[in-house]
């Protein structure tokens, strides 16, 4: 079973839920798809066994053959190529690696070369196998690296996918293909607003979903009212609690110090499994 963890708003506790859930289960693979700011490893402190570069293909102009006809630039849907009378300018940060420019070049003046976008790290902490991506600083496009992280999924295991915040393409790339999506929210107006948008995204992908309310006790009751109206199950509540916040600040998953929570996370997993 593949379960993704998403939220819309940042800082609601996706990583906390993903890591503590992973530590409560057996035969777990945890994938951190927040490749811009991965944090699962900060809490898990895994022994890294393997680091692999992720590359994408980008065009390279063979100047001797180029006639500066401009066909490549006309074709590029992402405006990554600009053809001047004497020169072709390529903007790698806009390129989606579709290969279209090579295809349309009438002079075979474009070849492809690999460009590094980040790394994938693999490691183990206790029983948890962790895979995470680290996008290179200055590299805008997260999606190819997210797909590379997800290519490591072993479907016969208990797979948890920790998504990035937001509701745009990196989130879609992360939750796509999961059997269930857990939306972590906080009971505040910001939490509710972003939860509503994320519910739309996950429903459009036809993935069953449920909510975990983190920092329960702060804010107001509107998240609960919304979930009741929309018939969204609240799978778990984690109270706003100084001890949990303090453990988190030191990078300690709270199930390690508050073992009674492991059973709650296992119950959460069973509830999800019944739904799938």
């Amino acid at each position: 079973m593949i379960v993704s963890i998403a939220s819309g708003k940042g800082g609601t506790g996706k990583t906390t839920i993903a890591v503590n859930l992973a530590l409560s289960l057996e035969n777990v693979q945890l994938l951190d798809c927040d490749v811009e700011e991965p944090n699962d490893h900060v809490l898990l402190r895994p022994m890294i066994s393997d680091v692999e570069e992720t590359q994408v293909l980008v065009p390279k102009i063979v100047e001797e053959r180029c006639q500066h006809c401009g066909d490549c630039a006309d074709f590029c849907a992402f405006n990554a190529l600009f053809v001047a009378p004497e020169k072709v300018v390529f903007f790698p940060e806009l390129c989606h690696s579709c290969g279209g420019c090579l295809l349309v070049c009438p002079h075979q003046a474009i070849i492809e070369e690999a460009k590094r976008v980040g790394v994938i790290k693999r490691g183990r902490a206790q029983k948890v196998e962790l895979v995470y991506g680290e996008l290179d600083v200055g590299e805008p496009m997260a999606v190819p690296l997210i797909r590379a992280v997800k290519s490591q999924i072993e479907e016969d295991r208990n797979v948890i996918v920790d998504s990035p915040p937001g509701t745009a393409c990196p989130v879609v790339a992360s939750v796509y293909g999961s059997d269930f999506c857990v939306l972590v929210t906080e009971p505040t107006p910001f939490g509710l607003h972003d939860l509503q948008i994320t519910v739309q995204v996950v429903r459009a992908l036809e993935i069953p979903l449920g909510v975990v309310v983190n920092m329960a006790g702060i804010g107001d009751r509107k998240v609960y009212e919304y979930c009741a109206t929309e018939r969204i199950p609240i799978l778990l509540e984690v109270p706003f609690n100084k001890r949990i916040a303090e453990l988190y600040s030191r990078g300690i998953p709270f199930v390690e110090e508050m073992a009674e929570w492991k059973e709650k996370f296992r119950a959460l997993w069973r509830k999800i499994a019944e739904d799938v």
């Binding site: 809490l43 915040p165 796509y176």
Partner: protein, 288 residues
């Protein structure tokens, strides 16, 4: 005109609450919300929308089954694995147009999508540029760029000297679009190990684009040891720390009341600390 972007790397550190408070303290500025896929600033500033712009840009391929001869060329060439059994998955399709180019019977066309909306609004603190990306859409970076253009245009037209931008979390495309060409970046960090990790990456990003960086520690008293680490880290990297804001449940209460915290509790300690931080940032900015 000076442009300042508030960013964080990690989400939920308090960017939006601080930006709203800064706006309420200034009252002569243009405010930009560049977190276009999960915007929240409007929940505190209560803008009145005066102009709505449709934002189109991305494309999705569509197959006309009556023209398709099932040759399979599109499926073989699609780098995004978006075509299976001659059906296009709009979620995976990035709209590059390779399939349409290769189709021998012109059965594939590209549909331009409505990706979202950009808004120009008024608030009691000043004009505001913001946007709403449709859920799950691409092109958040381009929509951010549109918000930035709108903010600059209003500032020029109304002769306002300051543009304050609330940025998205992360370090990828919408964040890069939120910081390119600004005069300063303020990183809001919380004193947690994750917060410190993400601060380092956000700072590298500002350095990469040669943007002067400032740091504000939020919820600083939640872990004094980590706050000390952040301050030492900033000293080592010659980054100015402009404030240490304590944790205060008033921030959430102000959010529930849909009001910037400095207005909700103007005489509170947290309001004072935020004022000091803002004064410090503005002074640092003008001294440059």
């Amino acid at each position: 005109m000076r442009q300042i972007t508030v960013l964080s790397g990690k989400g939920g550190t308090g960017k939006t609450s601080l930006t709203a408070a800064f706006a309420a303290l200034t009252r002569h500025l243009v405010i930009g919300d560049c977190d276009v896929d999960a915007p929240n600033l409007h929940l505190l500033l209560n803008p009145t929308i005066v102009e709505t712009q449709e934002f189109r840009g991305s494309q999705v391929a569509v197959i006309d089954e009556t023209k398709c001869v099932q040759c399979g060329k599109c499926e073989a060439a699609c780098r995004f694995h978006a075509i299976h059994d001659l059906v296009i998955d709009p979620v995976l399709c990035e709209g590059c147009g390779v399939c349409a180019y290769l189709c021998p019977t012109d059965a594939i066309t590209l549909d331009v999508q409505l990706d979202g909306y950009a808004f120009i609004s008024t608030t009691k603190y000043g004009p505001m540029a913001h946007a709403r990306l449709n859920p799950g859409q691409e092109n958040s970076g381009k929509l951010v760029t549109l918000v930035r253009q709108n903010a600059r245009r209003i500032a020029e037209k109304e002769k306002i000297e300051l543009v304050l931008i609330d940025g998205p979390p992360g370090i990828g495309c919408p964040v890069i679009a939120s910081i390119t060409g600004v005069d300063a970046g303020l990183i809001v960090v919380e004193p947690t190990l994750s917060g410190i990790h993400d601060l380092e990456r956000a700072l590298s990003l500002l350095n990469h684009f040669r943007i002067p960086a400032f740091v504000c520690v939020n919820k600083a008293d939640l872990n004094a040891e980590n706050t000390a680490r952040i301050i030492a880290f900033c000293e080592d990297n010659e980054v100015r720390v402009i404030g240490r804001i304590p944790f205060d449940p008033l921030v959430t209460k102000a959010m529930v009341a849909a009001t910037p915290v400095v207005e909700y509790a103007p005489t509170s300690r947290i309001a004072d600390e935020i004022k000091n931080a803002w004064t410090c940032l503005r002074a640092a900015g003008t001294a440059r």
